[in-house]
Assembly symmetry: none
Homo-oligomer: 224 residues x 2
């Protein structure tokens, strides 16, 4: 499973690709303009960005440039039928690959996996932290080689936290990202889920290594 950000203004194409890529096992978020795309990019820290060139407002090149400036996240461009200019400019702007529209979902999925594999396998594949291995493709977690059966919610929580190791997430942020509903008043839901997950992945839940409590703020993944 990879966290994909799809930036595409045409609602039909957007919904279609989102559905298709979701079926291929990805976690897909979408945006309809360059501005919204950059905003979503900043907040959701995806593994890869699929980017349409023709966008209202900031165009695809500019979006691509800004994303590449922000870090190592790879970009795949969607271009109108094989326009040479588009391709050259796209790659110049920092795109890792391009797919000609109309994009076949299976082709796009293959490209995505290829690009992710090429980019040091940071995301599509295995995240290893100490003795904890998180396979984001097979959606499996193992500690010291022993597979650990996590539930869906626990897994989403772990994936969210481990996507930004070291960063502190507040309970409210986690509720929004993992549970996806705005909460009225805070609850102990997050604590509970963390505790259940710890019981499975931590060798000593009393002094956790992977998911740490930051008293008064929230939780954080990984050693510092």
């Amino acid at each position: 499973m990879a966290a994909i950000l799809l930036i595409e203004d045409d609602p039909l194409v957007r919904r279609g690709l989102q559905l298709a890529l979701s079926r291929h096992g990805h976690d897909v978020r979408t945006a309809d303009t360059g501005e919204h795309g950059l905003a979503e990019f900043a907040s959701s820290t995806p593994d890869i960005v699929v980017l349409d060139l023709m966008l209202p407002g900031i165009d695809g090149f500019e979006v691509c440039r800004r994303i590449r400036n922000a870090g190592e996240v790879p970009v795949i461009m969607l271009t109108a039928r094989g326009d040479d200019f588009d391709v050259v400019s796209g790659l110049a702007a920092g795109a890792d690959d391009y797919v000609v529209k109309p994009a076949q979902p299976t082709v796009l999925d293959a490209r995505i996996r290829a690009v992710l594999r090429r980019s040091a396998g940071a995301s599509d594949g295995v995240r290893a932290h100490g003795e904890l291995r998180i396979d984001t493709t097979a959606l499996t977690v193992s500690v010291r080689g022993e597979p650990v059966p996590l539930t869906a919610t626990e897994l989403r929580l772990l994936l969210t936290l481990s996507r930004a190791p070291g960063r502190v997430f507040s309970r409210t942020q986690l509720l929004q990202e993992v549970w996806e509903h705005d909460y009225l008043g805070d609850s102990r839901l997050v604590d509970n889920c963390v505790q259940r997950m710890r019981a499975k992945i931590e060798s000593d839940p009393a002094s956790p290594v992977y998911v740490q409590t930051v008293r008064g703020f929230g939780y954080r993944f990984g050693p510092v």
Copy 2:
């Protein structure tokens, strides 16, 4: 966590965004006019300013211009629905980004993080002063590489002080910014917290380097 100054005249919008951004983990102060905004800007030295264009008195453009003249603090503008004139003029006046009203809190939060990341990571990252390192994302503090376990209040205090090195904060200001409740009469609370923090981060608490006492006024971070 970022210190945000929100300048917006509509009380409803102001309160709503303040609440929402607070939930996203930010420290939000507000102002209802351009004048008050500039005053608050001078006194609270925020990391970023979110600025409504339509303001009574000094308008948003002018406020933006003055803020940009004052330093490196980035500005995000709130504009009425996509008026081209607003956007162009806003960016010309020095805004780093703009969000169309009505602003979705999550979108605004994402923009804020994006702008902060773009602006050399001054806020969403690491502040280094001498041998003291403050990671505002992981919420960790270390001295000479040694991690220092600060409590939530101590950390908020240090974050507040270090946001404006050299500036003297009165006890009342600190109570408002760190403790967030208006105090009846002054107390020794701040002194106490400072003392506890010094014991952890100063190699010689008797002659502090990072948090200095300004007798009769308050405290100051860093060597002048």
